[in-house]
Symmetry: C2
Subunit: 427 residues, 2 copies
């Protein structure tokens, strides 16, 4: 894409009403625009990142045998009365449509449980997790959620309207729920590895509410985190990233995984969570099945959330420097930022060649100063920057630099395509 | 996909509270589920269709040089007060967030105009449409829209919550707006051709409001249509599908394109519309630019809508028979419905081979009767049905039938892959 044509809104100064790094950097980099507190537009650059995150998540869930659907945002009051959450959930947006009262969905248990009830009649509708390619029934969506968030001050980390992936699973036995729960855990870890943040993710024990001993959060380690977690140093020394959320410290004071007492305090952002709901929602909706003896049993459920915008915001919090964002390759809006300094014909050829080879290239063809172009490139944060200028042309080459490093290399024209894979691996 | 595993909810009888064919057929076929009047879940089969429609639209808009973004659904009251539509738009959902009043966006002029204002400063930010690859600034999104629809009785044709593509363009001259408007018209016709309904689409003159002489609708010709249109028979005889919406008959009584008076009444569904907004929204928001003489001018705008669910519903209305839906190949949930009647090992091989060759196959592996399987296949409406049974195996082949035809052909096993492209062209 030519930078002269992209719909790219930036402000030179840090937005005054934003205190979080992610909001400041995403706004300055032209990724998002703030409409109102906790409500943002994804600009073309930001949407590119969000779509990549979404697609990485989708592929891993499909591999789990989960099926994608799309539920509405407008929910009838009755559904929320059945679980009692019409009154108890304080961040529910409510509205009236004539006499009818509705909520804007902050989550979808109240919708998916009655939906599953139409489908699940007998144990035959609830396949068990086994090695023959059978998977429990599990359904997911990417959907806009709404929450009346009182303190919407953390950029994309805490918004009133956000894109979220929610997955729900349905089981006939606790064993099966437990087995699938672990499969989702593995899939989530794989997703974070693909997103390029696997090394920073801690599988964190958190409160399980009244129905389970624990739920689990995936905490991204960063000083900017809102949550306090306790990392198990013994697990870490064995290469396992395990933590305990502060909210259960007291109830739990050793690592639930290895019983070590060597816990170290740290800060994290919860980027995903998994939860054994058991019959918490199936009971009020009477979601049941007839077992092999014809007896009625409650379906057991798990739910598994992951916020797309929250992941985007967290990665920015954890991966930036004074000059801007440093995107992991897998979700960068463009893999290569090609900057022409009065060498447009050479640059255009490289632009075409790189694209033909499958790279996503942002080509800065604007009549701006070198300084301005470098500043914008750092703000946008593409993993690799290529500069073509009189100076590099005299050396018959281009200047290549990784966003995360300060080192610069001159690569001859004829080697650019071949060498690019050392810089940015897109295969 | 194996049919035994798909999350597939059907009811044997026509849903009593739905009067439209599209809702009845989509519910019976397991594509959608009704949550409340005018509010539907897209089940896995329905989501597959929606995603295909969306992708066809997206590709044509990107080819126009349009850029994709994603604006919020929650809109501050202030934005809607600026245009006066907070009071005048009767189908606006309103809600309160503490003291703050918000609307759920039924359209996004009130959001995109102030957004564009941050970007457009001078004439340089408004490239002209020309043959050198310059395109006017145009922005689009696929977004959930909300409308307090009083008569939500037409299935996916008139819903309270719906997925819509909205495109907005920004121009410095009326000539440029007119040129781009025609480009969008051509792109829309291309989209409908790709969707497999090009032959049924009429470019229809409709009211332009106070700002333009006409707007234009794309009407899908079907007896089930809500709109009355007048088709120009002279244009039609020249292969051009032109019509006039009844709403402007009286003001206009001849074909605006060829001045013919030979008009024939028909019924249609509006599946898209294009509108020259001119300065209707740029004036209240003071969206202006400095021209080459430094004078301030209002930006001129066009807006171009297309409803994803509405297209899905319309196609069902226009393409069905007594047994169910007949999907065009391009948007069918699966291109091939493979039915095994006690010949699972042969069927499995064919299933693998067809998928390896790039076909999307729904494989009915359920232990159901032939009758039940045929009924479900007609309801789901995949373009091609393949049956493998004892009988066909004795003839060393399979039985192939197009959904839209009654003719059945026996194709030998070894020719299936080769011959399939005569039935369903996916390249």
């Amino acid at each position: 894409m030519r930078q002269s044509k992209i719909f790219y809104i930036t402000c030179k100064e840090s937005p005054k009403d934003e205190t979080s790094s992610n909001a400041q950097l995403l706004i300055k980099g032209g990724f998002i625009d703030k409409l109102s507190a906790g409500i943002y537009t994804l600009l073309p650059l930001g949407l590119r990142v969000a779509v990549k995150i979404e697609e990485i998540i989708r592929q891993e869930l499909l591999a789990l045998g989960a099926q994608e659907l799309s539920m509405p945002a407008l929910h009838p009051k009755e559904n929320w009365e059945i679980t009692g959450r019409w009154e108890t959930m304080t961040d529910l947006y409510k509205l009236k449509d004539g006499e009818k009262e509705m909520a804007l969905g902050p989550t979808h248990e109240e919708i998916i449980v009655p939906l599953a009830k139409q489908y699940i009649k007998s144990w035959r509708d609830l396949p068990l997790l086994d090695d023959n390619g059978n998977f429990p029934l599990s359904l997911f969506q990417f959907q806009t959620k709404f929450r009346r968030e009182l303190r919407a001050k953390s950029g994309l980390l805490r918004t009133r309207e956000f894109q979220m992936k929610d997955l729900y699973s349905f089981h006939r036995s606790e064993d099966d729920l437990n087995g699938f729960y672990l499969k989702v855990k593995e899939a989530y870890l794989k997703i974070f590895t693909k997103l390029g943040i696997g090394e920073k993710i801690y599988y964190t024990y958190a409160s399980g509410g009244t129905f389970s001993e624990f739920s689990h959060e995936f905490q991204l380690l960063t000083e900017a985190g809102e949550d306090t977690i306790y990392i198990c140093e013994d697990c870490l020394s064995r290469g396992e990233r395990i933590a305990i959320n502060k909210e259960i410290i007291g109830k739990v004071d050793i690592c639930p995984q290895c019983q070590s007492k060597k816990l170290k305090q740290a800060k994290g952002i919860e980027v995903a969570n998994i939860f054994k709901l058991k019959n918490k929602f199936s009971a009020p909706f009477d979601l049941s099945y007839a077992n092999q003896d014809g007896e009625k049993q409650n379906v057991l459920m798990g739910c598994y959330g992951m916020g797309v915008g929250r992941i985007m915001g967290s990665i920015v919090e954890a991966s930036n420097d004074a000059n801007g964002i440093i995107w992991p390759v897998a979700i960068a809006p463009f893999q290569i930022h090609l900057i022409s300094l009065d060498e447009d014909s050479s640059a255009q050829k490289i632009y075409r060649d790189l694209q033909a080879d499958g790279y996503e290239v942002l080509y800065d063809d604007r009549p701006e100063s070198a300084g301005k172009k470098f500043i914008d490139a750092d703000l946008i944060g593409a993993p690799v920057r290529i500069v073509v200028s009189h100076k590099t042309t005299q050396q018959s080459g281009v200047e290549v630099k990784q966003r995360k490093s300060k080192e610069v290399e001159i690569i001859p024209y004829e080697e650019i395509i071949k060498r690019m894979k050392d810089y940015v691996d897109i295969k």
